[in-house]
Symmetry: C2
Subunit: 112 residues, 2 copies
DNA sequence: CAACTTAACTACCGATCGGTTGTATGGTTG
DNA sequence: CAACCATACAACCGATCGGTAGTTAAGTTG
């Protein structure tokens, strides 16, 4: 896809919004959890050890960034990842960070 | 690279930090600018229309996230992108956002 | 149907954090 | 010294996080 330069302001703002949505540990956890498949608010609340309201709020941020989607079934709301690229994104950043950690620990080992 | 589940807390925090570093329009602009090659603080200040202090501060955030690196030559400090993955990252998110925009405008065209 | 329970969403509050601007200071280089 | 950069601080503003509480919607029970 062609990338205009400089990027128009609204596009930059939208890009920043997407990154910001992934810039909170709890939301990373939510995405990590949803990678295994759909989950209800309740599932996430129990798995991540915080309040249901808090999860709801973070899910809304992720939904506004078009990262997750909702499906209603009865009294439950099922959330899932709708942006296929996010998985790739997380894995890539995770890989970079892990490599960083590996280099750090290697440096520490080499130092002593 | 293998991905442990659940991810250890410090790793999640570090991942979030990297995303957060890219969650600011001005920093996206800086990265966009650096994709064309090295630049001094002065270059960025003039190109992005803000203060030198502000640029310096944002560069530090990017440096702490291991996204950019410094090189000193004379009295100038040259910044460059050191995390090769960031280019990919930005292009991917940019692509997703552009696709989103395309779908939106298509929907608007179809509606009238 | 009425009463209750459960699941989820929303609104508000206080605290904290981040971004911007401005000023000032210190360090380094030529 | 002059130019360039980094850092620190204050002030202001807006955004965000977590919690409390209230609301809505769906399911369940009598």
């Amino acid at each position: 896809m062609a990338m205009p330069h400089p990027l128009p302001d609204p596009l930059v703002e939208r890009i920043a919004e997407r990154f910001r949505a992934l810039g909170e540990p709890l939301r990373i956890r939510i995405v990590e959890h949803l990678m295994a498949g759909e989950a209800t608010v309740q599932d996430l609340t129990q798995a991540l050890g915080t309040s249901q309201q808090n999860i709801s709020k973070h899910l809304r941020v992720l939904a506004n960034a078009s990262i997750v989607g909702r499906r209603r079934d009865g009294s439950f709301a099922y959330y899932r990842i709708v942006d296929a690229g996010v998985t790739q994104l997380c894995e890539q950043v995770c890989g970079t960070v892990q490599q960083e950690v590996a280099e750090l620990s290697a440096a520490i080992r080499g130092r002593r």
